[in-house]
Amino acid sequence: MIRYTLRRLTLLIVTLWLLTVFLFSLNYFFPGDALTNMTGIRASDTLAYQQAFAARDFDASIFSQYLNFLGHFTQGDWGQSLTNQRNVFGELLPLLGGTLELALLAMIFAMALGAPMGVYAAGQQRGSMDRLIMGISLSAYSIPVFWLAQLLILLFAVKLGWTPISGQINPLFDVEVNSGSIILDILVSDNPYKTAALLDAINHLWLPVIVLAIMPATMLMRTTRNSMLEVLQQNYIRAARARGLSESRILLRHVLPNTMQPVVRQLGLMFSVLMSNIIVTEVIFNWPGLGSWLVKSIYERDYPVMQGGLFAFATLILLVNVCVELFHAWRYPQVRKELYAER
């Protein structure tokens, strides 16, 4: 396990390092002045530009420029926005909180919905419910998220009037932004109307969470179903049945744990899909998160912000994938054996 962990971590570090090389070279590939792209300081602001030029070793070779860039980058100096001159790293943190809140809730919802449905469908194999669930899951899987979001907005917000359609909370609740996750921010705030604010926030939250959760949920449903059908045909299940164990005991003790093995492996992939959907969802729901921030920066050609957003997204996806792999290998030793072909 230690060897495996080390290997994964080394891979992670190497990938992150390559990412910084890529980000650094982007400064030169983007149109305009490389130093401006990197720091967000325009040449017209002569004094600040000269200071940045010196601080960033811009008269030295590309290689030492990169080292310098890496130094600034690891210290959280990601430059300032070209449009509003705000510190990119400082702006990013609360947005990351907003994105994580949405992603985590969607992930939990998808698991709570997808896994049981998959188990249920497998139990009813070839039955009408199985076909129905699989049919729904396949069609839900093929609906692009931007369209789904619009449909649900039309239904729940415009026709039924159950929910608002944008932002984290009614802006009249003056909740100070700390973590960026609205639920946490309300809980730590000293707002006198905490309960009302919390209800309002949840009311803003559930629709984007559902929109986001649908695609991973359908993926989970099908993976769980297929994996469970496979497990059900294993000899040890037959043996358990032959020994007269009760069906529920077989299901809980033998089928489910083994079913979850390929499902856990899929979680990393699901998270990546979720991340690409979250960009669209955040834009549609005006959610103050990394995704809408990144898209906006692309529209505005705000290169320092673009780099920050790209790095944050890529790192998030990498980290989650590595964590999932490590958990998978720790929880299911047979996987490690396969990996090393241990005897």
């Binding site: 944008s166 009249l172 609740f173 906006k296």
Partner: protein, 545 residues
Amino acid sequence: MSIWRLWLLTPIITLAACSPNPDDVPPLRNGIVYCSEGNPESFNPQLGTSGTTIDATSAQLYDRLLDYDDAQQKFRPALAESWQALDQGKRYRFMLRPNVNFHSAPWFTPSRHFNADDVVFSFKRWLEESHPYHEVNGGNYPFFTASGLNRLITDVVAVNATTVDFYLKRSDSSFLANLATDFAIILSAEYGAELLARGEPDLIDKQPIGTGPFVFEEFRKDLIIRYHRHDDYWRDPARIEQLVYSITQNANKRMLKLITGECDVIPYPLVEELAELDTGDEIQISSTVNPNIAFWAFNTDHPPFDNVLVRRALASAVNREAIIQTIYNGNARLATGVLPETSWAYSPVDQTYGYDPERAQALLAAAGFEEGFEFDIWAMPVQRAYNPNAQKMAELIQSDLAQIGVRANIVSYEWNAFRRRLARDEHDSVLIGWIADNADPDNFFRPLLSCAALNVGTNRANWCEPEFDQLLMQAISEPETDSRKKLYQEIENWIYREAPLVPIANSMRFQAHRSDIHGVEVPAYGGVNFRHAYRASSTDTGEQP
């Protein structure tokens, strides 16, 4: 399966049931959400001309020396209690109001009331290039440059704490009108000095301090601007405690948010869907006759638009009636000249080219373009009060021009890039417009077509004709209204002959609001004002303090 189904629906139903009732929660009851169409460029209207910035700042954060009353068409005292013209109109003396408080905010606590130093500070900031704040945050003051105010005022002198004298180069009948615009706001000199001492002068336009009815609290780009009430306001304090601008750039989204109740007031609702909106009694539409003009300007520096025959030909080739019907759904008037009907100098004589493709072809032939030519039409990517859909308008013009053999390409960029490139004169022609800042007809001509406006980026036609400029100057130094009216007719006729731009339409400015919101004012000249706005409670119809 029934269990599954129930389980799926529970969270949705529980959540939908728990949205708080606005009447029970004081912040929701005592606040208004205005869904604005974009980010303000700064929090100081002196620095820009964009309507978005004006809407977000002027009437909320600041006051002017005097206000203009649309209804009675006269000036009203504001920070100046009274004023008089001296030395044959070359000196104006303003007597200032005592006991006016500046905002107290976490970043600044005023130690004194408003006085003459603040007036001098606010005007000299853009007037004097040597002023320590002149270059701060760009150093461009487009309104003052375009209106010529920076060349008209020679000095601003504080006679004593409550008296200020303005010295003018010559008498100018539009001077008071310009001081009453949303741009001529009063900043705090004390705050300016404090920031300078702290070495952070640029904060003056980012964490603003003014005397207005609302105090700035926070701004998150693309998300919100939050203001709260200024309790020590010198007039009656605002009726709402909190005012939030929720920035919603997409017009469809704005309308949806109004329907779901997330917005209380929205500007620029989509004209095509207006009728649909009006049906519900939850939402009301108000319109103000807006002194504006949508026009199509030719860049007279770019050939072939340096040729007046070509400009006249294109002006005759466009079916403007069709544009009014298609783009504005009839909610606009066909422009008869540059001045809209709301101006006192307006005359009903039509000073535009009618739709006449044959004449257009003849003119083109005379100019040597029998075969036609190819050029770009730049169409704004955003809606403005004067033009709800420039892209569609460009398409209509494109097809009209195709009939006389002229090929037009439609070009558009993101709004800020669009304006930047326009200022660099990269365009052949552009569909844009103008909203008057004050009641004086001069505001339609000098900012749009004078040589002085070339450098500030409001003269989209790149039109500079010294004799025409002279006529403009003559019109503003003339004190008699009747003679001025004649001069403006002459100016209109000049524009008709030379056709640097094609006036298209004068539209109304629309605004939609929830029916429980009252008192939101959109003056004809200037930005939206929330000082008298309030939300009528559904439980008690009595008015909130």
